[in-house]
């Protein structure tokens, strides 16, 4: 019971190849101290080495390089501990153009005009409009 694997449903999308995004399920063995970002690395090293995501720069929730949308909320994945048997939906950070899978282009800010996104490749994942007000 205590060492039930963690189930991750991960957003996968390569704009060069895929017509639409898809979701893939992976089971990661749970261990004490397992973090979401570490679990993503486990998926990459053991199941599919093409999985794209941004690694941390700091590893202690300062740099926000590892932010992703997890169960609908933007969080720093390097600081998200996992519980045994937990199921999570992992998607790219909302409001940024998707480069591939979970990696987004932070070069465009959320408040950029819509046209900026269209010039970039890929899709912007947007469930609700988090911030639509223009930049001051």
């Amino acid at each position: 019971m205590s060492d039930k694997p963690v189930a991750l449903k991960i957003f996968r999308y390569d704009p060069d190849v895929d017509r639409a995004p898809r979701y893939e399920q992976y089971q990661v063995p749970w261990r004490e101290g397992l973090l979401l970002l570490t679990a993503l690395k486990y998926v990459r090293d053991n199941f599919d080495q093409t999985l794209a995501f941004r690694d941390y720069c700091c590893g202690c929730s300062w740099c926000t390089s590892c932010v992703m949308t997890v169960d609908g909320k933007g969080i720093q994945t390097c600081s998200r501990p996992l519980r045994p048997g937990e199921s999570l939906l992992v998607e790219p950070m909302r409001g940024f153009p998707i480069i591939r899978d979970l990696a987004v282009d932070f070069g465009v800010t959320i408040a950029s005009p819509e046209g900026t996104f269209k010039k970039m490749h890929g899709t912007v994942l947007r469930k609700e409009q988090h911030r639509t007000e223009p930049r001051p």
Binding site: D14, P15, D16, R44, D45, Q49, T50, A52, D55, I99, R100, D101, A103
Partner: protein, 182 residues
């Protein structure tokens, strides 16, 4: 050792920047040429291919070898072992390495590009540690625990036609005089 590294990047970053600026002021724009950029493109593209040893696997092996034999306390036998293990990674595994063949945000490709440099640097670290038959600063040899005055010199690798050539350079002593600080 975050404390050491932070002071080092400040000192050596400044020095590297200053000497790069001095060099750049004295030379004109250089044209790398189409042939050499194509050659480099081919070298990097050769790492892409779906079948092969994942670069991460080779990186993990380098890390394990260096941690086991080339960490805080070193011995001649351990260093020799490490040198032969890195050598066999270079000869038998590196040629079979392949990163996933995707062009977009390919972390495996980044690692593949880093691996040959890691192998070279690991080899230079081991050779330097074997060469220095004494203990000094962060370099501690169990088989040579004393600091020897005749080793008051830098270990230096210079790029040569055969790869990298091991040699020494004199030490310039300024304020702190060398002495036993235990």
């Amino acid at each position: 050792m975050g404390g050491n590294a932070l002071t080092e990047i400040i000192v050596f970053g400044r020095r590297a920047g200053q000497s790069a600026a001095e060099y750049a002021a004295g030379v004109d724009w250089q044209n790398a040429g189409k042939a050499s950029s194509e050659e480099e493109f081919l070298r990097l593209s050769a790492f892409l291919g779906n079948k092969g040893i994942a670069p991460k696997q080779i990186m993990d092996k380098i890390a394990a070898i260096m941690t086991e034999h080339v960490a805080v306390a070193r011995t001649g036998t351990g260093l020799e072992k490490a040198l032969s293990l890195i050598g066999s990674l270079k000869e038998s595994e590196f040629p079979g390495m392949a990163a996933p063949a995707v062009r977009r945000f390919n972390l495996g490709w980044v690692e593949a590009i880093q691996v040959p440099y890691m192998l070279d640097v690991a080899e230079m670290i081991i050779k330097s540690a074997l060469f220095r038959t004494e203990s000094r600063g962060a370099h501690y040899r169990e088989d040579y625990p004393e600091t020897r005055p005749e080793w008051s010199k830098h270990t230096r690798f210079l790029k040569s036609s055969s790869g990298a050539e091991l040699g020494t350079a004199p030490v310039v002593i300024t304020r702190l005089k060398p002495e036993d600080r235990r």
